[in-house]
């Protein structure tokens, strides 16, 4: 088991290496000369050249890549062109809203999507199943910001139940924090719910056809227990896999949702970085999000062995 975990962790190193390479290439081929930007407009060509040499910008591509990776491994993601603050500081300042949004979305999604999928599989072919599957198609088709605006219009503008936009830090109380995040979390979870409900239904249908389920029925075990204990446990591997893959949707969606609801998180920071062409910040954010994504999926791979003892590596 431990050997497996170590092996899996080692296996992610080349993947992160490839990601780092992509992200570095982004900055390398980005238009504009960082040395000229730092030197300012009045600098002479000689000044620019000196800055370039000081920063090591005249080194060959692979050498610079190596230096950059070395910096990152020491926790230095560079300095933002726009604010002159370290990228790590900027990310730390914006971390809480995004983490809160994603945590609430994830909880909400799991609580809603899995029972939906189980119900659809149980009532397969009936109108309940069709309704849930129709919802899933809609969830895939309506973009997250459209759902965001719709919810905002109904629950914040018309009914005035919830704040329209903004974010209150958790330190200022649980209730205002939560109230600000309900609508964005629901908007963000729609695609995710659609994805997981569909996967749950498919996995459950597969499992419900198996002999041991018939045995359980023959033994007189109740329907609820068969569905949620016997079947769901065995259907859990594909479901958990998709929850992990879906984190990518969540990250992409957060970029948009935070813009709609004016949440000062990492997604909003990403949009600002793109609009200002703040390349070091873009690099840092893409790298961070990818790292989180890879890490979550690594954790899920390890989780398999706990969920399904038959899986041995």
């Amino acid at each position: 088991m431990l050997a497996y975990i170590v092996r899996r962790i080692i296996a992610t190193i080349p993947v992160m290496g490839v990601v780092a390479f992509f992200v570095f290439s982004l900055l390398y081929i980005a238009p504009g000369d960082p040395a000229a930007v730092i030197a300012g407009e009045q600098a002479s060509p000689a000044d620019v050249e000196r800055i370039r040499q000081n920063l090591g910008l005249d080194h060959p591509f692979m050498v610079r890549f190596g230096e950059w990776v070395w910096q990152i491994l020491h926790g230095d993601l560079g300095t933002s062109i726009f604010t002159n603050l370290p990228v790590t500081t900027m990310i730390r300042q914006r971390f809480e809203p995004t983490l809160s949004l994603m945590a609430i979305t994830l909880c909400f999604t799991i609580v809603v999507a899995i029972p939906m999928g189980v119900l659809a599989a149980w009532k397969v072919g009936t109108w309940i199943d069709r309704l849930i599957m129709a919802f899933a198609v809609f969830g895939f088709s309506v973009p997250v910001f459209v759902i965001g605006y719709l919810l905002g219009y109904i629950f914040a503008l018309e009914l005035e139940w919830l704040p329209v936009q903004g974010y209150t830090p958790l330190s200022q109380g649980l209730a205002p924090w939560f109230a600000n995040l309900i609508l964005p979390a629901i908007a963000l979870s729609c695609v995710y719910i659609a994805l997981i409900a569909r996967t749950t239904r498919a996995a459950m249908l597969e499992v419900l056809q198996q002999d041991y389920i018939r045995t359980a029925r023959a033994k007189g075990i109740g329907q609820r227990s068969i569905l949620f204990v016997h079947a769901l446990k065995n259907a859990s591997v594909p479901i958990v896999t998709v929850i992990g893959i879906g984190i990518a949707l969540l990250i992409g969606g957060a970029v948009v949702t935070e813009s709609v609801f004016a949440i000062p998180g990492l997604g909003r920071l990403t949009v600002d970085a793109i609009l200002r062409r703040d390349y070091p910040l873009i690099q840092g954010l893409v790298l961070l999000f990818s790292f989180v994504y890879v890490l979550v999926n690594l954790a899920i791979d390890v989780l398999y062995t706990l969920l399904d003892p038959r899986i041995r590596y």
Binding site: F22, V23, S141, F145, G220, G252, V255, I274, V286, V294
Partner: protein, 304 residues
Amino acid sequence: MSAPKLIVPPHIAVAHAMPDLLPAGKPRRGMIGFLRRHPTVAVGSALLILMLLMAVFAPYLATIDPTALALARRARAPSRDFWFGTDMLGRDIYSRVIYGARVSLTVGFSVATLASVVGLAIGLVSGFVRAADAVLQRVMDGLMSIPPILLAVALMALTRGSVGSVIVAITIPEIPRVSRLVRSVVLSLREQPYVDAAVVAGTRTRAIIQRHILPNTLAPMTVQATYICASAMIVEAILSFIGAGTPPTIPSWGNIMAEGRALWQVKPFIVFFPAAFLSVTVLAVNLLGDGLRDALDPRLAKGL
């Protein structure tokens, strides 16, 4: 004395009648029969054709020039002259929405085609050339580890912003998914006895690809391409919405919504109309994809 009554507990399933194994009557053949058996394909393609017609005939359907500015009639509510109202710069939203279909459909179809072609090529190389496979798979793993929208957004930061660069930026994150699919088909087919036989008989790789591999990848790739098309249209709207997509001079659904963003609390209709058109179009493509999946691959039909 009557026969003892069989008591069946409610949670035990009992077959009350033999299921009809054979369908009653002969299924209709041809296009109409196909569409009848797969209503989602019928509905999806009908809606999509409607949108296509709208995009093609945009100059005839639009009431006025979608880029015509008129500051005197800024942000008007929908009326008889301006069916969907006007935006902050006084442009007619109805005409802009009609023209916006062009961008969405162009991006959707181009991304689907481009990602399929490139993904097919990479998948074939990876499936047939062992030496290249290891490297290509690592590159694809890396690409897949970057959340797609984030990658597209980062790529857009490198370019000046044009419909072409939007297409490329959305295509790159989609390529690994196609190449994985093609590679898996190739690898499983290579184990098939008839492909082995073809190899033993000295068939060239090119002929094996044409005769055995391509026909088997066609069905899953068509389905995949439909889903890519749907997601590309959403990503285009997202990119334009956050200001990193189609240039603001071109009316696209994402751009119209981006312009309506500042005013949405007072003038929600600016965001509403493009949002509705975008959602319906994506829904049409998704329905088409679901229907095609059921129709083309009966093994998958019961599941997802």
